[in-house]
Symmetry: C2
Subunit: 322 residues, 2 copies
Amino acid sequence: MDFTFLGTSAGTPTRSRNVTALALSHSGQKPWYLVDCGEGTQHQLLRAHYSVMQLRAIFITHIHGDHTFGLPGLLTSASMLGRTEPLDIIAPVQTHHFITATLENSDSSLGYALNFIDSEAPDFCWQNQDFRVTNVALSHRVPCRAYVFTERNIERQLLQDKLNEDGIEPGPGWGELQKGNDVTLEDGRRLRSDDYTQTPRVARRLIVAGDNDDPTLLTDACKGSHALIHEATYTQDVADRVGPWPQHSSAEQVARFAQQAQLPGLVLTHFSSRYQSAPGSTPNINQLAAEAMQHYKGQLFLARDFDTYRLEKDLSLMCLTT
Amino acid sequence: MDFTFLGTSAGTPTRSRNVTALALSHSGQKPWYLVDCGEGTQHQLLRAHYSVMQLRAIFITHIHGDHTFGLPGLLTSASMLGRTEPLDIIAPVQTHHFITATLENSDSSLGYALNFIDSEAPDFCWQNQDFRVTNVALSHRVPCRAYVFTERNIERQLLQDKLNEDGIEPGPGWGELQKGNDVTLEDGRRLRSDDYTQTPRVARRLIVAGDNDDPTLLTDACKGSHALIHEATYTQDVADRVGPWPQHSSAEQVARFAQQAQLPGLVLTHFSSRYQSAPGSTPNINQLAAEAMQHYKGQLFLARDFDTYRLEKDLSLMCLTT
């Protein structure tokens, strides 16, 4: 599972960080999935290696503009580039209204269908051949979700000894069983794939959270998850000074939670534009890193625009672009 | 009068050209005015020297997304940065609907007032201390306007001989007359500024046109204008191949018109993304320049993102960033 940050700034873009968007894929770059779509996401994609022609679904965490204002441009550009495949948009109902009103009032028509799916529906679940996606309600100024991506269709291994014991000859049937399909033999016997195969590893699971001031809401979801992408808008001292209203998390708060939840991997993002990257400038992005490291002992990363990460089959998390 | 191109690509952004926006100022960079606001305009402003705090008005030529989708992000970022000054938005009514629906459906509130002004109103005219702005209906797939910016309050020169002849002593009254204010003397005489001052030069006039397939609609407006910014989406051969539907102009078409109208200065922009800038790549942006030069003998420029131009008081047009 690969993911690339297309924007890592909170609220407003800076010269080095765009507002929020994340590209995610199961293997390679097609198909791929987008989580949030701040203004300029289509511009960032011109510098990344994901094509809107191969985009399968967009997941929106919440309605705020720094997570949604790139949608109209991305959708209409995809149409101008010739996209015809339908596109699922999983988002709050208000984001559907925003898109519809924008297309209507800009003389825009798309050459493909949009399937709007309400992300706030009870028991929300979306899946295709790559992922099963559920979500978790977070705590923010507006309803907001974390999306939990669990990979599907893990490669199976044939239980050859058992096949031989049961007198099942090698042939096309073995291939079908390995693909997960049940098979009926010529002699009428019905073979279940699950009885003759095993999956050699656990399914990888990644949580992509939206804006949130209470990471503990992810406690249950983190069981069996291998990495969490979560906002860390402020250092704790700034969070204390700003006060509770914006309903964001501090680096300390997220790190403490991840440590307690025994999460193997944590990627922080969505940094207030006050934190600068240039060495020596203050407040500095390194302060967020230092604060998080004090409280979390797992694999910790601070996202930068265009950084690509890989969650390997062995569940290790690595940044491919350092 | 200075103007900076913030986007020069038609329809979709490229790696080197954003979609349409133009920053314009009378002198210096405050206050300034924005014509069109494609997605990513606020990002381009991070690299230019215009601040949203000093933005006085936004003029929208037409409702298409590549001229408007940057509005919500720019407006909300200005609010987050602390803007409190009201802002005039001169645009078609549908753009007002787009902005309103977007703000409503993204939990956005602005810390300043938006004054919506209908650009399609008959006898449209907007003015302040810097400019008088009128507009001209163009020919495009949707109603579209060219904005005509005429500078106001040109510096006056005192007619000192006449003041002496009429026995008017030097004093604060002279200063008021020079500022354009009428004055009443202690002896009750009423002096009109126009009678005792002259303006030593003509008012500069610049036309910023939106998308348009019939430049001759600007014939009247061009009389007394010193420069025209106009789209040239295609070379003529491509325009012929594409056919009339998109309702854009070719470089040849605009150049022929500008020559016939005896326009002193012409800046072409809004180029189809098929035209590349890298030397040797085809189709190339230089083909548009070559085609226009064949038919127009005035001062010709092809805009690039972040190019800044100056229309001098002597009416010469120069690019400050070559």
